[in-house]
Amino acid sequence: MTALAPPRRRAGSPAKWVLLLPFVVMFALFFIAPIVYAIVQSLFATKSSGLGLGRPETTFVFFDNYARALSDPAFVESVGRLVLFAAIEVPLMVLTALGLALLLDSGKARFPRFFRVLYFAPYGVPGVIATLLWGFLYIPATSPVIQALGAIGIDMNPLSSSGVLFAIANIALWGFAGYNMVILMAALDAIPSELYEAARVDGASTWSTTWHIKLPLVRPSIILVTVFTIIGTLQLFVEPLVLQPLTSAISSTFTPNLAAYNQAFAQGNPNLAAAMAVLVAVLGFVFSFGFLRLVNRKDSRAW
């Protein structure tokens, strides 16, 4: 019908596919495929019969595994514990990272670059090694710190049931505060200095500058850091796993991920483990998107 049809565009050059291919293949193989496999696994169960010494059968049980996980009091308790832990850890982490970033960015810090490296350094220690090191520091028999405190009359037992969540929070804080601090410092660096000059001209104090200029402008990064911390906290696994032999306060169902690991590798029930893992993922989605919804008011999208 049109007199002059627009020339048909070539359907994209092959170059972009070649560049995308490595990522897409890896993404599909190591991200999508395992997720699909886990979801499929969670819909089956292996059943035996009689004395259980013969060949088992794999049967399709639909959402039976999910019902089992959700009706297991230990698993539900572990989710509750995790939410409590997140309530402690997330604000603590964000405030610490923000505080350190603002201090190092204030211009009044001595040797800011040295301290930036120093605070970031713990992130380079792998999680298992870090927890082993802190494990030594938490046991009275091997900890110079606890022994010194004991000598002056302060009795500390970080691995008791009342202290163990804080002990784990401490390890996570030590490892990741620097990482989050670096993200926030990059955002702070990006603030144009004319704003500071204008503020000084207007007679603003350091605190006013921080509150009215710096914080609003790094709000997207603060939200990013919070979402990362929420997701990371909900996957808590390494610290309880490594600390478990050191204390009776950590059971094999201390966190949902630990419970899933226990089901898969100690109790030979990978189907239930897959269901638990999917539930943890859903929980992560709910919390992160819930948080983003909360902070993204319609009129001022920060993300």
């Binding site: 004395l51 259980g52 089992r68």
Partner: protein, 440 residues
Amino acid sequence: MSIPDRLRRPATALAAVSVVALALAGCSGSPSTGTADGEPVKITFQSWVPNIDQAVDAFNDSHDDIQVTLETITAGPDGGYATMLSAVQAGNAADVAQVGYDSIPDFLINDGLEDITEYAEGSADLFSPWQWETGVFDGSVYSIPQASGPLGQFYRADIFEELGIEAPTTWDEYYEAAKVVRASDPDRYIAAFAFNQAPWMIGLAQQGGANWFGTEGDAWTVDIDGDETLKVAEYWQKLVDEDLVKVVADMSNEWNADIQNGNILTWISGSWADAIVRGTAPETAGKWAVSLVPQWNAGENVSATWAGGSASVVLRGTDHPAEATEFAVWLNSDPESVSILTSIGAGWPALADTSAIESLQDDPEVFAFYGGQDIWDTFAESDAAVDTSWKWPPLSSTLFASLSDNVSAAVENGTPLVDAYRLTQEDVVAALTERGINVQ
């Protein structure tokens, strides 16, 4: 940003192809090596027992037709079994593997073992009857027994002498000795209460006369909270409440430090624990001794094992079941091999006739650590007194995890230990029923 329509189909196709490729790659298994003429058959053996390569080398030196490659893996309960079962499912498992007696039903329920009845018949007479039976189910043979872990009491003879106490022969004496030890030094305890170690707790219950699992027809009977077990639980409750034992995980860093410093004086453990004590506290050489486990009634000799013992199994999917079985039988019955196994701490041999085993008759290096005591005599006495009717059910891993969790929680919250055993009873029955297994 959503994928534009014209890219959607190629992207979906790409993802689908990748998933299919992954699935296909997982399904293929590699063809086996070794031919029938001239070339030795090559098989792999997975174990975590330190220094077992000495026994494997001895086999390779004495056999031309079969050559064995040893793969050292993590200890079974710590992840080794999971590795083996995953490999069986993937189709590339080792041929022979080390599995504890307690986990053999677990492997059966997950279809991980090859039926070796036809290759192993004729070997039954070589082994002690109760240990041979741990590998026989429904008339078929699935494993060759290697060693059991009869319990003994390792104790610091020098410190006991210093404190004027004898090695306790009854649990009443043990209680009295615990009080003396505790009073001697604020950091010193007679033993650790290892809340993490289910085999230790199970062994103590077994020694108390309990028998947790049995079969009636085609159903299991589960009796974890029977009277004998609760008697044992109440005894240890008393020790924990009166601060006479240290609540700490055994074989942990803190426990190791205490063993080295003489702050934990005894350890009730299997015969293989000799290698661990010698390795953990070499500077205390000459100061230890071994006695029988304290008895409930004076003059009795009732003993138990630490999770049964160890066996060599042939994993399902092997291409050489006959050769694998031959190796397993040789490893666990040839006198030279068993002598090596005993001296490296593999446990108490499953052989019926141990008179030909050198290292059991005389092992100067080991005996020197115990002030010259022939500890194998003590363990022989212990092994003879083990209740051999004890059976292991499927899902023993669930049993261990549940017992350890419940006892940890009881200790942590100050609730009675007897309740922990009752909870474990419920957990295990529920887990077995969930898997479709009949429970009475």
